[in-house]
């Protein structure tokens, strides 16, 4: 596991991710981008700060790539999650899944984002017009 395989502090280079998965045998490429929205829970969002337990987040994303790759052996998967301060409209995550056939590419891409949102130790703090809040903590 490289320390910077799946996490980045820079704008995500979607074209590079795509190029890293596409093979001549692929007929389908599914890309998912998570974007910073301008609203959440009725509030106007100005920006989001993403923070991670970095080595564990790298490890957990790696496990998910492996697990989803085993379920869809024809699919090649790449993923980058951005950390730091993001503005509305910027991508926090991009997942690229290429496959000979589209059903697997879509399914793998969907499973990737669903699992990443469940277990990877990354947190976001929203800055809204009402102040700053860590999302997910009910304290």
């Amino acid at each position: 596991m490289s320390m910077n395989e799946f996490l980045t502090d820079e704008k995500i280079d979607t074209a590079a991710l795509e190029a890293s998965v596409m093979r001549p045998s692929d007929g389908a490429l599914a890309i998912f981008s998570g974007l910073v929205r301008n609203h959440h829970a009725g509030l106007d969002v100005e920006s989001i700060l993403y923070e991670a337990y970095r080595p564990m987040a790298e490890s957990e994303i790696g496990k998910i790539v492996t697990a989803v790759g085993e379920r869809y052996p024809d699919v090649r998967i790449a993923v980058k999650h951005r950390l730091g301060l993001l503005r509305v409209g910027e991508a926090s995550i991009v997942i690229a899944c290429s496959s000979p056939h589209r059903a697997d590419a879509f399914a793998a891409c969907r499973e990737m984002i669903d699992r990443i949102k469940e277990t990877v130790p990354i947190w976001k703090k929203e800055r809204t017009t009402q102040g700053e809040t860590w999302i997910g903590w009910q304290g």
Partner: protein
């Protein structure tokens, strides 16, 4: 969070505690070195945190717990040199 200096070093273990996001903000620090009795669990450390930080009182059960970057149940025994992290509900993606 502190060692009991009455006990010998042999009965104690050193553990590094990592706190993230809202937990770090509450504790005021993201990394703390703990000296704990042998036999301490991750859940025991969570109880120490609850006693020290009133903001955590409502949380009897710890959030997700990781030792050495692997999720574990809260009753997992800590060992010398472990890296312990409490993982608030994640919100990545």
């Amino acid at each position: 969070m502190t060692s009991n200096t009455q006990e010998t070093q042999e009965q104690m273990i050193r553990v590094r505690l990592l706190l993230f996001a809202v937990l770090r903000d509450i504790a005021g620090s993201g990394e703390t070195d703990l000296v704990l009795r042998i036999g301490s669990t991750a859940g025991d450390v969570w109880q120490l945190l609850r006693e020290r930080y009133p903001e955590l009182e409502g949380y009897g059960a710890p959030p997700m717990t990781a030792i050495n970057m692997e999720y574990v149940p809260p009753d997992t025994l800590l060992r010398e040199g472990d890296e312990l992290a409490f993982i608030p509900p994640v919100s990545g993606g």
